[in-house]
Amino acid sequence: MSTNVISLVSIGAHPTSGRARRAEQDARAVELGLQLAGDNLQVVHAGDVSEPALRAYLGMGLDELRVLEQPAGADALPVLTDYLRDAGAQLVLTGSQAETGEGSGMLPFLLAENLGWPLVVGLAQVESIENGVAHVLQALPRGQRRRLKVRLPFLATVDNAAPKPRQSAYGPAQRGVLQAEEVEVLEDELFTGALLQPAKPRPKRLKVIKAKSGADRMKAATAKASGGGGQVLKGVSAEAGADAILKLLIEEGVLR
């Protein structure tokens, strides 16, 4: 049984040059979709159909890419909600945040809320899908993984823990079809009050020393690795030392 998977993609921006490209995390969502559904994968984009960077997704081996046509600055949420409600997908994959525009990462959360579906954040791997239930691995910080059981249909975001996207080939990218669909356009009201500006480098946090006297300031400036506070076990047997270490490891919860 193959599953019906939809990947949502957006246009990315190169981190240095700012040039349009396929978005890094969305490409991972496409890659994961291709591994799960193969040819059955549907890829959907809400935006401008004439954007050449969209062809980079087609170059990953897709026959077609559906584009819900919208001008820049339009709200993608109602359009995508309507589309997904009727699409009959069991799994919808997205990147965790856009590389252009606001990039708040709210879209998957709002889609899940509107559709009433569960949402898995940071999907790393789908282990099995059977009887309307999926077992998936979720990526946690520090390289850890957690196994989750989710009812279908569900939404999932992928981040950098998902499989690396395959390269985009030029030939298939030119052969693939971009299928445009007419949809109702709703303006996003964000930019009525907000202003997008080039990122300012953030000031480095200063080390403020609150000392009342010159002697304290001198001490703070010249202090070496602070001693004290640490417990030192000297002249104990190896077993007692090992027990103390083990106790600390268990307290900190790093021993699994």
Partner: protein, 406 residues
């Protein structure tokens, strides 16, 4: 500090020198004062000073000027108490509590909340599950709401959002502040935003009056916008609270929470190969240096503990570990929560590399080395013996856990 009473000639000199900046601090406690009824009261125990042989001497010639009291090693500074009796409004903060403690990101967030609450508002911290934090007072928490119950244990984002909605109903906070982090805050905040129908300001790094600035897109742009009700703030968004002490009064929810059937079920953590985790983000590092004599046993211990392996520069130069395992200034700067240093004396370059680690455990033969000064727990002894004892203890612990589960 030892109990031996010693004279401190320098302290005595400072006490005599009225121009010295520390002069006031070195003066003895006031020994006579006017009582409430007008009688002069005297503290006879405070008169005089303790001589070099530990016997109290009283110099009635008038030559003695201070230096009488034995100075304690460190004076506990009592910060002024910031009290909010009748909060006009609440600023609600949901800290990440990684490992059950406030992270530096959480403290920055509480600093921002304190700044936004001003004099009249109260900072309400909502903490899920059990915690190990003891410093809510100095971190700037005015009211503390603990939501513990086994429905919040493990990964339960939907239940937590319900809990936060109940908090929203009862306290109606003016602002919600959550850390925009990968360790839970970013996800919970966005879920809450979607559930409340609020548009959050994300990756906020500065709040100025009624405006906030956050990163947008891939970080090439900033988005300046009016202050949102729900703010997901980046690390170092404000200075942490450092000048006041707060009450951290416990408050409770008046309504009991509805328990919903979770659509996402947590089946627990999955064993990950610790060697495959990048060193810079590994949580638990077992690091070896010059003092390790039996490297086969070192690898065995690391495997038994399930820790990522690290090494000091000496161990790498001698060919016992590969270059990519080196911790320190010219290797990797690690951020582990627990760092075990075996046979590493603690060169300054190595200590720089572990600056971000929470708990450091040192196993070393030399009780005077710099690593022991840095460590939270140090065991002085031969590494190979401690390795064997550790393996035995861990195996016994794991077997015991299995027997309990069965």
């Amino acid at each position: 500090m030892s109990d031996i009473i010693r004279r401190d000639p320098r302290a005595e000199w400072i006490a005599r020198n009225r121009l010295h900046p520390l002069h006031a601090a070195m003066q003895p406690q006031q020994q006579s004062w006017m009582g409430p009824s007008g009688l002069v009261r005297k503290n006879v125990h405070g008169v005089g000073f303790i001589g070099p042989n530990g016997i109290k001497r009283i110099d009635r010639s008038g030559a003695q000027q201070g230096g009488a009291t034995k100075r304690s090693a460190s004076v506990e500074v009592q910060l002024p108490l910031h009290q909010v009796l009748q909060p006009a409004f609440y600023i609600s903060v949901v800290p990440d509590m990684v490992g059950g403690r406030l992270s530096s990101h959480d403290r920055d967030l509480l600093g921002l909340a304190h700044q936004m609450a001003g004099k009249d508002g109260a900072v309400l911290a909502v903490v899920f599950g059990e915690h190990k934090e003891s410093a809510f007072e100095t971190a700037g928490v005015d009211r503390l709401l603990l939501l513990d119950g086994n429905e919040f244990s493990g990964y339960s984002p939907e239940q937590r959002v319900q809990g936060l909605r109940a908090v929203d109903n009862q306290f109606n906070p003016r602002h919600w502040l959550l850390p925009d982090s990968r360790s839970g805050g970013g996800e919970l905040g966005r879920r809450l935003a979607a559930s409340l129908g609020e548009r959050p300001a994300t990756r906020v790094w500065q709040v100025k009056g009624e405006e906030c600035i956050g990163r947008a897109g891939a970080g090439l742009q900033d988005l300046a916008r009016p202050l949102a009700r729900l703010i997901l703030a980046a690390a170092e968004c404000a200075e942490p609270v450092s000048e006041t002490r707060h009450e951290a009064l416990p408050v409770e929810l008046s309504t009991s929470l509805v328990r919903s059937l979770p659509r996402i079920e947590d089946l627990g953590a999955v064993a990950v190969d610790p060697g495959a985790i990048p060193m810079a983000e590994a949580e638990f590092i077992f690091s070896g240096g010059n003092g390790v004599k039996d490297w086969a046993l070192f690898h065995e211990t690391a495997a038994a503990l399930g820790a990522t392996e690290g090494a000091s520069r000496v161990a790498v130069d001698d060919g016992f570990m590969s270059r990519d395992r080196q911790v320190g200034a010219s290797g990797t700067w690690v951020t582990a929560r627990v760092y075990v240093a075996v046979g590493i004396s603690g060169a300054i370059q190595h200590l720089q590399g572990i600056g971000a680690c929470d708990k450091v455990v040192a196993i070393n033969l030399d009780p005077g080395c710099d690593m022991i000064k840095r460590a939270d727990l140090s065991v002085i002894g031969e590494s190979s013996e401690i390795f064997r004892a550790l393996i035995a203890a861990v195996t016994a612990y794991r077997n015991g856990a299995k027997r309990d589960a069965a």
